[in-house]
Symmetry: C2
Subunit: 443 residues, 2 copies
């Protein structure tokens, strides 16, 4: 499970690997459906203007153009592949606002493209699974709590090690920095975002050099970022730093609500982490990041936040909150670390053998009876010796072979145990665990 992609950064899976990816995708979709999210897709391309307005680094964007431009392709000038699903979703909401019922709960699971340097967990073509709730004008804060719980449930259903959803709040951080006299809060956030990578000393140096921060300001900012609690005790810890600011209070109250509910409903999996900054400018309140415990270097597997004005139409705004799960990042790690195994490589449960070349049509009848009851079946293509037909099934991982005698009697053989029994094509059913390939967590 460590083949090299023929084009760096564009992973492709073998059929048995794809079964694991499908299991991840199906699981996420099922959880999103159970929570009432409407699935949509958006086109793969956006205008370059639309993409760059949200502040992404432009060299990471893949432009799209006709190989041979002509007059008909002029309307397509300035198109590029989307690098996430949030920006396209914001456009979709604005364009279709008249057709949607707000608050609009949507899930979206699609490929994205970014020209980043490939490494494990960072592909150039990758699948994201997003959920967002968007309101018309207002959106109750409660959705910030709910969405954290939905992704915890979704990630908890995947064959991965335990994980930690780290939550912070932009208002809390910005209010605190303002309260200690650092008014360029965006720049402070950018420096604090580097804490895990370069350490407190270098972040302090950045704050001093770039923002002219005093030692006291640096100490306070770094003390805030050091706070991490699995419960609401962070509130007291922040208060102990002695900073007072209205926005800080608002942020504290919001984050307290998220952590209070989450620590009750998903104990141990959600923590307040006041170092989380998130690079993107459009977040305005709650921000989320998620790490796989013991695999922190993989980076965040699920991130997001609250944005108050990503989408706007005239003076109408559509505030939202959402999270994005990095499906390809997760699947790559499942495959490279063998977190999961699949019970067989093909969907087929039964190979219907051929006694002679003329029995192909009768064998199709048997297969059709099995399929009508949800049992995946295929018919041997040629009437080779039974030993060869069984070997064909074995090589592909098909667990059962079916024999029809000249007298019309049927038998089915489990080629793993060798057990063979009489069977009726309209009645026989394999054990539940053999009905379809099973993806199992490896302990």
């Amino acid at each position: 499970m460590a083949r090299k992609a023929s084009l760096s950064g564009f992973p492709e899976w073998l059929p048995q690997e794809r079964l694991i990816e499908l299991h991840v995708l199906d699981t996420l979709r099922r959880v999103f459906d159970l929570h009432g999210f409407s699935n949509i897709e958006t086109r793969a391309v956006e205008t370059v203007d639309q993409l760059l307005r949200k502040g992404e680094i432009d060299k990471e964007v893949y432009a799209v153009s006709r190989l041979q431009a002509d007059e008909a392709s002029a309307s397509e000038a300035g198109l590029a592949l989307h690098y996430d699903l949030t920006v396209p979703f914001a456009r979709y909401v604005v364009e279709n606002a008249g057709h949607l019922a707000f608050p609009f709960r949507r899930s979206q699971i699609q490929k994205c493209w970014r020209g980043e340097r490939p490494q494990e967990g960072r592909a150039r073509e990758f699948t994201q699974a997003d959920i967002d709730v968007v309101g018309d004008g207002v959106l109750p804060f409660r959705y910030d709590v709910e969405l954290a719980l939905v992704v915890v449930e979704a990630l908890g259903a995947l064959p991965i090690p335990d994980f930690t959803l780290r939550v912070n709040n932009r208002k809390l951080a910005e209010g605190f920095y303002r309260g200690i006299g650092l008014t360029d809060t965006a720049s402070v956030l950018r420096s604090i975002d580097k804490l895990e990578k370069i350490g407190a000393a270098k972040v302090g140096q950045l704050l001093r050099e770039e923002l002219g921060a005093t030692d006291a300001q640096v100490d306070a900012a770094i003390a805030l970022a050091a706070i991490r609690t699995p419960d609401t005790s962070f509130v007291a810890q922040v208060r102990a730093l002695g900073v007072s600011d209205d926005l800080l209070e608002e942020g504290l109250t919001e984050l307290e609500q998220v952590i209070a509910e989450a620590s009750k409903r998903a104990p141990g999996r959600v923590v307040a982490d006041l170092s989380i900054a998130r690079g993107l400018d459009y977040y305005t309140g709650t921000v989320y990041e998620t790490v796989l415990n013991g695999h922190e270097s993989l980076g965040s597997i699920c991130s997001g936040g609250r944005y108050d004005s990503l989408a706007a139409k005239g003076n109408r705004t559509f505030p939202g909150v959402g999270l994005s799960i990095g499906v390809t990042r997760i699947v790559s790690r499942i495959l490279s670390q063998d977190f999961a195994a699949v019970s067989r490589q093909v969907p087929t449960a039964v190979l219907v053998t051929l006694a002679d070349e003329d029995s192909w049509s009768a064998a199709q009848d048997v297969a059709a009876s099995l399929r009508a009851r949800g049992i995946s079946a295929e018919v041997a293509a040629t009437a080779e010796k039974f030993g060869k037909q069984i070997k064909f099934a074995d090589r592909r991982g098909i667990p059962f072979v079916w024999f029809t005698g000249a007298d019309g009697t049927h038998e089915v053989k489990d080629i793993r145990s060798g057990a063979q029994e009489a069977a009726d094509p309209d009645l026989w059913t394999p054990p539940a665990e053999d009905l379809a390939p099973q993806v199992l967590r490896v302990p």
Copy 2:
């Protein structure tokens, strides 16, 4: 259901339209799984060389490049979005031959891109659903019969009008043309391919002018293309034209096998149609096209054929046979003609209401109990008056609302009928037809 895409040729669906598309995609995947096809995906990009080698018109191809090229992006020069799934699959087979069990049965459902002039049924971004069987060196002819039956079953499970799978055989056509002395069979095929569009007279003119065909040759070629039978009687009709050729005989035998079995297993849905040529050069035997009856102008909704040497690795070849279903073409027609309706617009079956703001967490417990039994549920975000909460559900198409009294008793109301009854969150289940949105064929 006739909104205009904001970017011509790049359709996007509303949530209720997407439910119909998802139904189509899920149905196809289920049928493919039941027939033992392993699902895979390939990357969206191929090298331009790889794409153009297969003879596509280059101006239809979308090139991909970094918006700001740098040294790191040099390895990506000459990339383009795939325009179908056959060419990428051929590459995948060659690259992964050592990891696949042959004959390899694969399904692949993905987006493709072509810069064609947009019209209904012809988008620039569209989804194809392909099945192919590929052998290592050899591939029994029987798969040509089987794959026709699989797509007939798959299309028959969709909410569309009846359809006709038209089958021809390149060997039959080429042998016949050779037999009447027209040796540039590729050129004859190209002219015959235009029959439906420009008529017999103009095709005859083309054959005379471009290939120097005699009147007798033109008459014979057009007589062959006029043969269309729902059974194997085409064999006698071809023989009556008095042409003799080995390749013709081989083609007749092959096509007879397909039609004999198909007319038995899928009566009326598969016909021998000797005018079918298929534009692509790589087909070497059976060719398929499918039209929706009464919607022939939409073009083919499912096409394909046998190819003997699309994929090769040194002197090893991987012959295959496959068909490609035009999902976007089908879904566009379902939506524009209202062939199908969806029972509701959201996955949610139950809205759990809030009696007061403090009951949110208890309401989440109710919702969690429902979800644990597969019932999609969401919780109201704010404790507005019940009338407003019911209106919220009604506007989104959620059929049931749940009430929890101060005494801990539960009631559930069907807001369509107004019927309200006591209910236990661990036991209550909606009628089966209300569990999830149902996509129904409109009679």
